[in-house]
Symmetry: C2
Subunit: 351 residues, 2 copies
């Protein structure tokens, strides 16, 4: 049953269990290197086992989120480098739970492909493992699936799930946000993991650029491939010192839906976010897409993060101090705007 | 930003956020109906919140698993019925953690497609929600991704993650298994979620059958579509009364790798599983695939469950009583074999 017969009926149907096993052995090694003290199981048990440390908590709450990296995978395929999208995925998920005040415990990944190339599988999981290590999160398990004919040759689907924990009194759920609060922005590293379908269409189809081209006329001389594959930033280390700080009222991770959809999620009834668009420099990539794709600002702010990856909603009186504190930590924060009384969508103010 | 303009640049790039939102509203309703008392959040928070009840536990351990349903999705597409694959996914995941003694807490799903049809998305998530409800597991969150050009029209990827909990003293990890233990088998409902690539090749390509045909010459008059889409059984309700029972030494969920790969995972060094192949009736579907696909038994037992969905490894002295108890509960158990001293792969004994 452990033979290498390439003529087996299952292999002929397009699924090579032995090649999968070679890749899986490497994946297990990568995962093992991420294990934290809570991990009880070896990868390869039916389910991964994790013993959380509740000792310092009043009322532990688990926080979980599942995500993918969208068509950023297509850019990775174009560039021929699958090594960083796994980190994107982890960082995206980490941010999704840190906004509720949670720290990550463990992560599980899923890799799907028509035929799994062991090197490409290892490359994808290396990115996942690197992201896990950087965020102090164990890669507890995962699944790989060969689905011949389902995925196009060279395409890989990558899905991840994170589980973290927060003590209920420290849970951030938007309920502390008040009219008068300030919004502090933290820069994104690029598109993060949203808007790639539109970006690819404008850059590669309409403008006919390639991944090795820089942005025409831009000061940033990196290639579009580098710019587009810049890993999604994790804000865990920057935000962690503020978890439990009474001045921090809410956090919003700016993902699909942009500032327009993600800011309202943490605001109470009768409150509107005012975003001062001059408070940060819009990266050249977004300006290029808007101009050449003829995409109106209204849509740009819904599809892309526009250079803002995370927003902190903070008590007005503590805002200046927090801004300074975040700046000292190298987070490059900016005074993005404020929460005002009103109804309706986010207000984008030019000044 | 909430307009219905179908000409938006993002929609033109193949992603229709508004259509996604219509589908998501229905998904949220389906998910909400599965909520158990532990759920703290509405779906739509950045991460789902769950407060586990540890009160009766000495040392709570989280057990997590991620899985897909493989190319069973292709059969669902052929038949035009996506309503049951979600249940397959949940039941598969539930079984993967119950074998370690864990009960499910919550589930998260991921649906990927080129273009998400709101009705098809709802159909998929209905299956997930039905599976969650049946297993007492909350559908805590999920992600839907439109990836134009990545998936073929009408193809849907479905990935799920389950998180459950077990008290450490009751954890099943194979360490209680001894030479002399008996193996009790529980019937599968069909292929469950493994071996579909080979099955489709033999049935549809080699034999030229369609999903509306019955198995030629079989007593079972169901169509191949029905037989192939029969949902993966959940063994939670059958096995749950035995969790913590000292006679139960281990459980093995028979998934990819079949009896050949999954039984050894719960056996100690120096022990081999002997499976008596006459102890259960091999379903006609497996016989058809073996005969017409010219697939040797050795491979059949590695690719398919062959009619055995779950194996209980039990203390020999309690085996007859457990067999009777499971029979009374309607689980249709059979005396599958035993654990003997030795080394090497599973032994398939004809008598």
């Amino acid at each position: 049953m452990n033979g290498q017969d390439p003529k087996s009926a299952y292999a002929a149907a397009g699924v090579d269990i032995d090649a999968q096993e070679e890749g899986l052995a490497r994946v297990k090694q990568l995962a093992r290197a991420t294990f934290t003290p809570g991990v009880l199981s070896e990868i390869g048990s039916f389910g991964g086992l994790f013993r959380p440390d509740f000792s310092a908590m009043e009322e532990p709450v688990l926080v979980a989120s599942t995500d993918g990296v969208g068509t950023k995978l297509r850019v990775a395929k174009m560039v021929g480098d699958l090594s960083s999208v796994g980190t994107d995925l982890v960082n995206h998920c980490v941010n999704d739970i840190v906004v509720q005040g949670a720290r990550p415990l463990f992560f599980l990944d899923y890799v799907g492909a028509g035929v799994l190339d062991p090197d490409k599988l290892a490359s994808l999981v290396e990115g996942v493992a690197a992201g896990c290590t950087a965020n102090g999160c164990a890669l507890l398990g995962g699944e790989t699936a060969e689905m011949p004919g389902f995925y196009q040759p060279g395409d890989y689907e990558l899905v991840g799930t994170i589980v973290g924990m927060v003590d209920r009194p420290l849970l951030l759920d938007g309920s502390r946000v008040r009219v008068g609060d300030r919004l502090l922005g933290l820069p994104s590293s690029g598109l993060h993991t949203n808007g790639y379908s539109l970006a690819r269409r404008v850059l590669f189809e309409q403008l006919g650029l390639s991944t090795s081209d820089p942005i025409p006329g831009a000061a940033d001389r990196r290639s579009l491939g580098e710019i587009l594959l810049a890993p999604h930033r994790s804000y865990l280390r920057v935000v962690e010192p503020l978890l439990g700080d009474e001045r921090l009222h809410a956090l919003a991770h700016i993902t699909g839906g942009g500032l327009s959809d993600n800011l309202p999620r943490v605001l109470p009834e009768g409150a509107v976010a005012v975003v001062r668009t001059a408070s940060w420099e819009r990266p050249e990539l977004f300006r290029l897409i808007a101009r050449h794709g003829q995409v109106a600002d209204e849509e740009m702010f819904r599809v892309f993060n526009m250079g803002v990856g995370m927003v902190l909603v903070v008590e007005a009186t503590g805002a200046a101090q927090l801004l300074a504190q975040l700046g000292e930590a190298g987070a490059e924060p900016f005074d993005l705007g404020e929460v005002v009384a009103g109804e309706g969508p986010v207000v984008y103010a030019a000044s």
